[in-house]
Symmetry: C2
């Protein structure tokens, strides 16, 4: 590549000083038309591209918002960084899982950046949530959004002393970081209530992991609704990461062996619900005929599934937008305390709870 022309080159060709060139780009209307004209033509002729590095260094701002995540897509396919591993046959992918949770949130972040005149810098962790990777992107942006459980809190705290950091979908924020979340508890309570009141179910088991704040809140919603209805709680252990399908299958087998199939499985995520529906189908158990299954998230996957999945839809795009919005606001006018927002969710009644398919909630 040819050496990139600089302000000096442009200034020389236009017969002005570098400051004027810089000024012409930032405050075009404050420059005499003839001067501006000359500068612009010089820039055009030279193929001048301002260096963002130099700009950022001089101005102290980068104009970029960062989003750090975990390379979910690649990792799920066993792809390694720096390896030559090819993807499998893309045409045979399980399309049901797209877009992923993270994709939708990322889209929201991207939209808000676009709207507010920022660019988005996306980085994915290479190692096991390595700090080094994060530093690589944290040093390039004016604000940073991260997915929960991707980076240790102390690392985030350190970074947040320099630039605003927002955690996406962390319910309660005791870390002092900015955060956006959704009404996990309310949504799950409403869903559980539907099972109890509309379908008259009593033996309802909750499926979900311990130790994740958002999942715990979903459990609270379930528990609250059950207790309010005078029903006993019942929980199913969650699968170890990466073994969802196997685990669901063996859990279903245990239910059958013990003759203790619940009337409903209230799962903490769509992904889990889908895995259980697969396992139940494989065991010849009809959903929703013999057991109802519900999810949480509202991924497209639940829509494609037969029966379609009754779930709670999170406003994922809005989640991303809200996160980016907080960041950009903070960049413009750094606040004192942590900003947090909770977004509402929406119950999506479909087939897997025992309701009839409805045009409005079926393919749309």
């Amino acid at each position: 590549m040819a050496k990139r022309p600089t302000v000096y080159d442009v200034a020389a060709r236009a017969g002005v000083s570098i400051a004027t060139v810089s000024f012409t780009f930032s405050q075009p209307h404050k420059v005499r038309p003839a001067t501006r004209e000359a500068v612009e033509e010089a820039a055009r002729a030279l193929g001048y591209l301002p260096s963002a590095s130099a700009r950022g260094l001089a101005s102290g701002k980068t104009g970029a918002i960062g989003l750090f995540s975990f390379a979910y897509y690649a990792r799920e396919r066993g792809l390694q960084p720096d390896s030559q591993t090819p993807f499998g046959d893309e045409a045979n992918e399980d399309f049901r899982m797209f877009p992923l949770y993270h994709d939708e949130v990322q889209r929201g972040v991207q939209v808000e950046c676009w709207r507010r005149g920022y660019v988005l810098m996306v980085g994915d962790a290479k190692g096991a949530a390595g700090e080094a990777d994060l530093a690589g992107i944290a040093g390039r942006v004016d604000g940073l959004a991260v997915f929960p459980n991707t980076v240790p809190d102390d690392v985030l705290m350190r970074i947040s002393r320099r630039i605003p950091v927002v955690e996406l979908s962390i319910p309660i924020n005791n870390t002092g970081l900015h955060g956006v979340s959704v009404d996990n508890e309310g949504g799950m309570a409403e869903l559980t209530g539907h099972l109890v009141e509309v379908h008259g179910l009593r033996d309802i088991a909750f499926v979900g992991p311990k130790g994740f704040p958002d999942k715990e809140h979903r459990f609270s919603g379930y528990a609250g609704a059950m207790v309010a209805a005078g029903l006993p709680l019942r929980t199913v252990d969650t699968a170890p990461i990466g073994h969802l399908a196997d685990f669901a299958a063996s859990t279903v087998a245990e239910f059958v062996a013990a003759g203790k199939l619940p009337q409903a499985l209230v799962c903490s995520t769509d992904e889990e619900a889908l895995a259980y529906m697969d396992a139940l189908a494989a065991a010849g158990i009809d959903v929703p005929g013999q057991i109802a299954v519900t999810g949480f998230d509202g991924l497209v996957a639940g829509l494609v599934n037969r029966p379609s999945l009754t779930t709670v839809r999170q406003p994922l795009v809005e989640l991303g937008r809200a996160g980016a919005s907080i960041l950009i606001d903070q960049v413009a006018k750094p606040g004192k305390g942590a900003v947090t927002r909770q977004l509402p969710v929406k119950l999506m009644i479909r087939e897997s709870c025992g309701c009839q398919a409805q045009p409005g909630n079926q393919v749309r």
Copy 2:
């Protein structure tokens, strides 16, 4: 925000020079362990985050790959940059259209960046493909990927004199830019052949716009197969942008009024095919009973649709990966000529052509 600590601060605290600090980060093993230790502890204690701007300025590389697109998602919803327009009710979105074509390609770019140790910088055009927006991101990256018809060619040419530029999904590359594409012609020929040979159809109309190289190639594939079978060509005008549904409806109405319904509609994109299927359904015409409809792209939307859409699957993630890969290779070792790659496509036989649903190509 507190002032960010710099190499000087770290050097002072560690009792070394800034060069040593820099050296410690780039060549850790070439520094005496004690020194390295001291530098690392100072960096940690200070919460030091290297400035990418300064690094980029000094080294002449940014470590980022740019992807420039058109804010399709936001624009389709009527969202304006800098406006306060909120999104509509996200729960009521037409999920069928996700992920979009661009989402999948972007994922591929992101994956490859991750794999090769780059970060991804995403920018969307604010105005009508404004050069200013592009310059904003072109100046921040070591290589740039763009979607076709997003930016005027001469602008791209100018940028490509400084950094490698790859066009994603441009079939023939007469511009001298790097490019990746898929076998549009072959895929469409195969699909048309299926309609003719397996289903015995003869009156097959092609639906698609003029003036887009990839669509033209698809037309060539269709035309070649028809001519080879001794069948007459028939084309349907394409809809003006943003009026797909209306246009499809009125086209169908014309077919009906004239009593000239084709036996098949071979559409140049899935989106178009889906719009025609909606219009046909509204007109009470059975697909595939009375008319076959096919698409091109292989979006999830076609899978969710009933009947599921027979189409040609493009390896979109691979397309993105290939594009990013070319860029990163070029950054490492700038080549002389333009690098181009064509990826194979895959025929996805589903229901809308008249075939039976098959487990393997249905929900997966």
